[in-house]
Symmetry: C2
Subunit: 323 residues, 2 copies
């Protein structure tokens, strides 16, 4: 078995509680004793067992991070930032992938609750009701989803969508299409509402679609049928797929149709035409969400919505409307 607090106590000739204090309440122990204990501990290779500690303190020093699909390029920067920030605060993070399935999402949360101090729920597919039920068990911070009374970090997609549509109408496009995301996606709904509010152009809604390249490719026919010359896609992957689907049908981007994505993933900078996109501050969101979560773990404070700005990055996939 590994070396425990008791081994250290014996080897340094003090009681276990002194060893415990040497680690978790240094000011309560004689500096000399402390250094001696720490030296012995180091010597023996002692490391406190966090799970055991959690049992008495009620703090696991673990966080849960739940995403719909790790391999969606939108998430890794968020996960990375969240993980780094958690580490800074001496927290570890469980990462779980729900495969876009609300049931899995719920199960995952339930198995995690007891082992974490809080969970970060990113773009959840769960219903508001389910989320409200689950929050009884464990503190949450939501990312890109609003549920009244819950702490939330939102990237302002509505404004981003507005920016994108403004860009398109500014280029003379009068018939637009919004290629939507999966059912239940909050960002997709936000985008729809923002699009519906436009008075400058007609907007056709095409979807729901898989949030993938395939989803975008499959939407090409619908886009063509709509007669739109300017398109805002649910995300960059969908946008890239759409551009490919359009190209296969002999339609040029941006010559015939302008396309805008959302997320600013790496691939969007690499493809030709380089994708015009609404950039999401994912890393910042991850960092801030962790801080909020830790804050709410400590104080149980009720909290509101943190809005993060999105920006439009104009590249090559948008241009003047054809006439």
């Amino acid at each position: 078995m590994a070396v425990t607090i008791r081994d250290v106590a014996r080897a340094s000739g003090v009681h276990v509680s002194t060893v415990s204090r040497a680690f978790s309440a240094p000011h309560l122990v004689n500096p000399e004793t402390r250094t001696r204990v720490l030296a012995v501990a180091d010597d023996l290779g002692y490391r406190p067992n966090r799970a055991a500690r959690a049992l008495t303190t009620g703090r696991t020093h673990n966080l849960g991070l739940i995403v719909a699909d790790i391999s969606n390029p939108f998430f890794p920067p968020l996960i990375k930032a969240a993980q780094a920030q958690a580490r800074l605060r001496d927290y570890q993070v469980f990462v779980a992938d729900t495969d876009e399935d609300p049931k899995v999402e719920e199960e995952l949360i339930q198995t995690l609750t007891k082992q974490v101090d809080g969970v970060l729920l990113c773009s959840p597919r769960l219903t508001n009701k389910a989320i409200e039920r689950l929050r009884e068990d464990v503190p949450f911070v939501l990312v890109n989803r609003r549920v009244t009374g819950m702490a939330t970090v939102c990237m302002d997609v509505a404004r981003g969508a507005g920016l994108a549509i403004g860009h398109l109408t500014g280029l003379g496009h009068r018939r637009l299409a919004l290629v939507t995301g999966p059912r239940g996606s909050w960002t997709s709904k936000e985008m729809q509402e923002a699009a519906a509010a436009t008075s400058e152009a007609d907007v056709a809604f095409i979807g729901p679609n898989q949030p993938t390249e395939q989803g975008g490719r499959a939407a090409a026919a619908g886009v063509l049928a709509s007669g739109a010359t300017g398109v805002l896609a649910y995300n960059d992957l969908v946008a890239i797929g759409l551009v490919e689907g359009l190209a296969e049908r002999g339609v040029d981007v941006p010559g015939d149709i302008s396309v805008i994505g959302v997320d600013d993933i790496l691939a969007g900078r690499l493809v030709r035409p380089r994708l015009t996109t609404v950039a999401m501050p994912t890393a910042a969101a991850g960092r801030i969400a962790v801080d909020l979560l830790l804050q709410s773990v400590d104080s149980r404070a009720a909290m509101g919505v943190t809005m993060l700005e999105t920006t439009l990055i104009v590249r090559e996939s948008t241009g003047e409307a054809p006439r």
Copy 2:
């Protein structure tokens, strides 16, 4: 506080040990008692506290998964598969990102050891010696790294590199360059050895480089200086960056220089020219590694190397050597 085993015991009129058995040793308890207990537990919303269980059983039912950089597109499919497989076996996984830093890697492993039953170390940057020391504390499975006597899942990069080089020499290229990865990368070393073994062509080694698009772009000058007409890059990101860097210098791919990447990431299929690449079975590696790890957790069996095949995917970034 949450509902504990004691609440369930009280509410169902049995002793806590009976409740415990109802969950973890069903065959030791009267079927009727069991159903009653489970019903009550369900009613109360009881969920066993895994951390507390771990304290007595010595099994946390958690795994650690350590990668150099989550936002490197190579890793997400591996993480996703590992995570799904772990879930299947009723395990949760801690994901940690070392930011390519060996020190961080070691610290991370040390803080994780007590909370996990085993760790998956992917493309570690640690020295063999450090890894061997750490293995005293916790079972490991390595991915893409060989350390004698340790369980390993390797994707056969050497063979993949051989395939790539064969493809290049087959197209008439006689001066090749290998754009290597970061110092300490096992795959990079494997590739170098495979390349050095070629008798069909001269191979220049250019590196070490950051395993990123920027790294590839920065290597363009070196590649040009080497006079090579065929290049194998450390990974797709580097390859894509290299193609861009070359283009900026007026060099055409594949007209003037052929470029091959490694990994088969999404972006490689999306860019033009579409990238010829050595595909890595990352998802399979994640799945298999988890199974091996769980196996070694149960049986402490010594284990060897599992080799996974790589394949060459020829697309548009390679062509006949110019003369």
